[in-house]
Symmetry: C2
Subunit: 340 residues, 2 copies
């Protein structure tokens, strides 16, 4: 249950003063932003008040960007697509933050997304900020830290926040809760191969991008696009009355990225005019609140006087097979005050 | 934060008497098992004691099966593979339970896995039991209900428990925690397409199955298998000293399923002989305990006297944009007793 972010241990406490961090963020200092994210990701009790103050400050700035979720099966080429999209946006004068959720980080020392070669050009651009997000513990799920990082990036003046997830599953449902526009990147496999995905994840997408539409895969990609376009046409519009689209793209050929921006723009115009844009954000805010409560609750419980001692003993008994996990859990929950 | 399982509402309270359920389970009544799972999935406070007693009873039966996790990208053909594998096992006299985690169920009324046509033959077999698991709320994650369903299936005498997840991401990490052997099903895309996946998820797999190795995809599947076999050979063995394998399979041709059973058997022999099998289960038990604690903690908090009223008010303020979600969450957390 205890997950201590390795970044935090590398930072001297003096660098975590939230006033200094705020000034740095306002100044456009990416290192300060990075340290601020590390601070809000920290689960250490001594950081809790500073975390709260920093987050309150960020929210009070009242700045928000276009929040874009990008997901898709591993190997679909999300990173190249994000880099191309990001470079296009910074070229237009925008400031782009990329937050990458890496659900694999629990099991590994390193991180899939720590790969230095990913988004190399974009990461060197002064108007871009790239940050892999720790996936954290169970509580709050993969998106907990990302939610707060997003708010900090917005306070820092980034007007496009790209949230990338690896894989297709629970994390996408959580990312959908963070963003305004949800982009699903698929590989060019047509036919029955993708049917299994259609009904669940595809329904969440505002735009489907069949990527790698080049070379040997071009025909397959076109066929897959047609198939998805047909399937999407059967869906009812969402709250914004938006009909999800399907396009093809190729990072190699540089195609498709303009269309992504066009679709994002068209969606925003439509959703703002009928109120769906703000309605979606309001609903998200409620879910953010609930997730934040869950996080805080667990922190509180860990601070109960006998928690650590009892946990140590029970863990050992369970590990030896001398207690069953459910009974042991109930004993630990016995620390909770009785309810009146 | 409140997720009420729709199944539970359809069940008369009289059917949820845990003694009656236990007798039914022991008798081999699949309906009783199904209702018992519904009961342990229930988050209603009035079911809590019965849930605990039922779970304690199940654990006290001391029966365990071979726990197999099956995951892979959507459309990889997991269901056909599971059905073929399941039919082979029941043909050998085994009793097979399939628990399918459906992370999409939160967003949709129905369920991907509710599709009646999936595993039709297996679901009709008297020695098989198939159950889609609700994904529940954030707390405890997608696997919370599945963990308890697994224990009930084992108490019911199922000796092979197949846990299926849709997608690749957080849910796989949770499923890895539930099982003895972890099988990754991939589509026959070779080359760079799958590189992104190798370092994270692939490391968790005990066996990689390149599925759909038939027709047009046969050559691609063989090439992908070779590539994975090469990559896997570079990994160090796990705690059991097991070297993960890569094979091809085709539900269409019926190929590859024998090899899956062979690998499972070989793994068990090896892991039991060097203690890794039980070591893994003991570590899992500790994590199960922690997850169960998280679940119980949230239930307790929801039972705090002013929780519901306060939540209603704060939700409304946040929804109207009159409170920020973080501040509102902290106000709700103010209900917690002060720590001495």
């Amino acid at each position: 249950m205890s997950h201590i972010n390795p970044h935090i241990q590398a930072l001297p406490e003096a660098n975590l003063d939230e006033k200094v961090l705020q000034e740095g963020i306002v100044r456009g200092d990416r290192k300060a932003l990075s340290q601020a994210i590390t601070l809000v990701e920290s689960k250490l009790p001594q950081h809790q008040e500073r975390r709260s103050r920093l987050l309150d400050w960020a929210v009070s700035q009242g700045k928000t960007g276009y929040r874009l979720g990008i997901t898709g099966v591993p190997g679909a080429g999300k990173s190249s697509l994000i880099e191309t999209l990001g470079l296009l946006l910074v070229g237009q004068g925008h400031r782009v933050a990329v937050l990458a959720i890496d659900p694999s980080s629990r099991l590994r020392k390193g991180s899939i997304l720590g790969d230095k070669t990913r988004m190399e050009k974009l990461s060197r651009h002064p108007q871009a900020f790239i940050r892999p997000s720790a996936s954290g513990g169970h509580l709050g799920g993969v998106a907990a830290a990302t939610r707060e990082a997003l708010v900090l990036c917005e306070a820092a003046g980034y007007d496009h926040i790209l949230v990338e997830t690896v894989g297709v599953g629970q994390s996408e449902i959580e990312v959908k809760d963070l963003v305004d526009f949800f982009l699903l990147v698929l590989v060019p496999l047509g036919g029955d191969e993708l049917q299994g995905m259609k009904r669940g994840i595809v329904e969440m997408a505002n735009l489907i991008v069949i990527n790698k539409a080049d070379g040997d895969h071009l025909q397959q990609a076109k066929a897959a696009r047609l198939e998805y376009a047909r399937a999407l046409s059967l869906f009812p519009g969402d709250g914004a009355g938006w009909k999800p689209r399907a396009i093809t793209a190729s990072a190699l050929l540089g195609s498709g990225v303009d269309e992504i921006l066009e679709a994002m723009q068209a969606y925003r115009v439509q959703a703002e005019s009928n109120g769906a844009w703000h309605e979606n954000r309001r609903e998200q805010a409620v879910r953010w609140m609930l997730q934040y409560v869950e996080q805080g609750l667990l922190s509180w419980f860990k601070g109960q006087p006998r928690y650590t001692d009892m946990l140590t003993v029970l863990k050992e008994l369970v590990a030896k097979g001398q207690r069953d996990p459910f009974g042991a859990a109930r004993e630990l929950l016995g620390l909770l005050p009785a309810q009146s």
